[in-house]
Symmetry: C2
Subunit: 435 residues, 2 copies
């Protein structure tokens, strides 16, 4: 019994009530959004028993952010990845994905799920690929077994690239960066070598059965997401998106919750169109986008290039933003990269929530601004997305005034505009006619 | 003879030709844009003789970015500020503003102008305020003398808050953060204590005369820009913007080039409206915006909060973006903050140029993406906004493959999607029917 099936039957679950309280929404609205497939509550029944705090992802809720973690065969270890997860959650990640590859990935996943209060997502093909010399050897049964195993471990949502079809592959031939989704590229290779249709597509109903049994939410992967601006919004991308829309409908028919994944690399002026097409073709299913980065020319700063695109995507209607760290395109993120990525995406999600006029979204901005005007530094830091960094930067400024002084090193006492405004307001009372 | 007067007389100056070549525009288009007041070429005749490279700022040109520098009475020194200027220009700042306060500011300015190949802007009221115990003592003659002195030094554009009028002050009384422009706050204090109208407004024609003599470009300051989301787009801000539009017309009548400054702190959904109103009320004069930051809750990360707003402002039509560094609201930027601010704004300007479809804007994205797909790391770094940072991050990744290996630590050899795409394309040739 998934949240979707129960919502359709008119039942308001504990998880829906928790989401409603968290979002300041009516529980009945949450139920109806879940029933309509416009909101998902990724909550594997196994993880729920281990203390998962359910969240709602969808247009009616606050914009959510995901932090990707995971070791590779070349870097990091289990302890480090669990620490990164805790750090990401501390700074406000709403979900995490364990994208580990290499040895011990079962163990990493088990430890992350046990320690995570937030939903955990995975990409099961990574484990299958790890166990084989060549992805072309994969049998559908093998993949189904891995999905079942991960579901039984408590994974809350899974990215499976079921929408990349044989017909789509010729559409990528002239692309500048080809297929940049790891799962998409592996799936394409399988199809090409075996000369068969996508096995996740042909075995979709069987996969849905497993997902439904544990209430694992589908995150229908965009294996053909563009890897550069030049490939954005091309035929390959949109052909797959149409297929994802169909699969989403099928999954919901079978009682499964569904999110749809989106790009990637998209120039500014194409973001709105990408979101609108997803909403139209996928019946308003929650759109889970990676960035998008809005220029390719800033490796080392892709948390910024992508936070710009992510803010706009969320404003136009994306429901969850997958973070990108400064190390994107260059290496695996370390702890500091995780922090930078999460904060950049908290900014993106929050700015979009303010612009979308979500009830109460701008309250924190107002409270912090009042503290700023009152020279209440402690309160200002407390309300910040990253209090420690703000406090450190403030303290680093040379010739820091003693606590309680009503100016800072930015302008000094004579040029502090807020101090001048204070004087001005006092003057206004003394010289009322001067106004 | 200013660029504006010469353009109106039908003359295409060397500076217009240089701008045209730089922008890949027709020289006649540049001339007509300058004549119409939609483009400015801030080039003080004194600075031109010292080797200034002229640039064009306006809707027809690439989006420009400005880096603010300057010591305060509490922090930094001359050498440090000159170094910051050179650093900012190296990373791509199109102009710099010297916002120094405290002692020695004449000397700082002189040294920065001498060393700067880019236009230099200032805010002359800072020097006046520095010389007085209280701004209320300022006499208009004193201010005019300082403007003349700075013009003679070679300052290319000046921010003067001539549009904040007595009638506007009551509109700020219920603001959360009052008047956050330093120049605006000082001007307001002067008006309130003296019970007189804004002296820059009443002496506007005399100021224009000085500006015209050296071809100093007006940067009409927005003294009432909002200092938080709650104050954005309020009556005070827009009343001043209307006055700036009038002053701009008057300045152009008197032969002066004019930019209009804009906010500040603006939520996402109000940015387009702000740009449209500026274009309408100011006759398409170049809009020079500070950020805007799109949320108040991220001190320490305001290069990001503001790069998001700046990208959108530029996309909607702003001509120049004034950077914000991570230290904004906390202290004076150090060298690393300057770099972070400049890169964030290069990203914003470039992303907007791509979205606005400027000829050739996306060429560098394409070239970098081709290098990325070809595993040509050196070329990828060379084309990056910050090659050194990208190279360092790549090198820091543990277990770095030897040069020439066609994968990186991000995914490792087995999960490299670009490597898989290569294999796939080779397979496609071997198994053409499999497709």
């Amino acid at each position: 019994m998934t949240q979707l099936i129960r919502a359709r039957m008119g039942e308001t679950t504990d998880e829906m009530r928790a989401v409603a309280a968290d979002e300041r929404l009516d529980a009945e609205l949450v139920r109806s959004e879940v029933a309509a497939g416009r909101m998902v509550i990724p909550a594997n029944t196994v993880h729920l028993k281990q203390g998962l705090r359910p969240i709602g992802i969808g247009i009616a809720a606050r914009t959510k952010i995901n932090a990707n973690l995971g070791k590779s065969s070349l870097s990091s270890d289990i302890v480090c990845e669990v620490e990164k997860m805790l750090l990401a959650v501390r700074y406000g990640a709403d979900t995490v994905m364990d994208l580990s590859t290499g040895a011990d990935i079962d163990d990493v996943r088990r430890r992350i799920i046990a320690a995570a209060s937030v939903p955990v997502g995975t990409v099961p093909i990574y484990q299958v690929a790890e166990q084989l010399d060549d992805i072309a050897e994969m049998e559908p049964k093998h993949f189904l077994d891995v999905v079942e195993q991960q579901a039984a471990q408590g994974v809350d949502y899974m990215t499976i690239h079921a929408g990349i079809l044989r017909d789509h592959l010729p559409l990528t031939e002239n692309r500048v960066t080809g297929i940049v989704s790891r799962g998409g590229a592996l799936t394409a290779k399988w199809m090409t070598v075996r000369g068969q249709e996508n096995p996740f597509y042909t075995h979709f109903d069987a996969l849905c059965e497993i997902m439904r049994a544990y209430d694992v939410t589908w995150s229908l992967g965009d294996g053909l997401r563009p890897g550069c601006l030049a490939d954005a919004s091309d035929e390959a991308q949109f052909a797959e998106l149409r297929a994802l829309g169909q699969l989403g409908r099928r999954a919901r028919q079978l009682g499964c919750q569904v999110m749809i994944e989106g790009p990637g690399h998209i120039p500014l002026h194409q973001i709105e169109r990408n979101v609108r097409l997803q909403q139209e073709w996928c019946d308003g299913a929650p759109f889970y986008v990676l960035g998008p980065v809005v220029t390719d020319i800033a490796p080392g700063y892709d948390h910024i290039t992508s936070a710009i695109g992510a803010t706009m995507a969320a404003w136009y209607g994306a429901a969850m933003l997958c973070y990108v760290t400064p190390k994107e395109h260059l290496g695996l993120p370390d702890r500091d990269d995780v922090r930078q990525g999460v904060i950049a995406y908290k900014i993106a999600a929050h700015a979009a929530d303010v612009a979308r006029g979500r009830p109460g979204a701008a309250d924190r901005d107002l409270a912090l601004s009042r503290a700023r005007f009152a020279f209440d530094w402690d309160e200002q830091f407390r309300l910040s997305l990253d209090p420690e960094t703000a406090r450190t930067m403030h303290a680093q400024s040379r010739a820091q005034p003693a606590d309680g002084t009503r100016y800072c090193t930015m302008c000094g006492p004579k040029f502090c505009s807020m101090k001048t405004t204070e004087e001005l307001r006092a003057l206004g009372r003394r010289y009322p006619n001067a106004r």
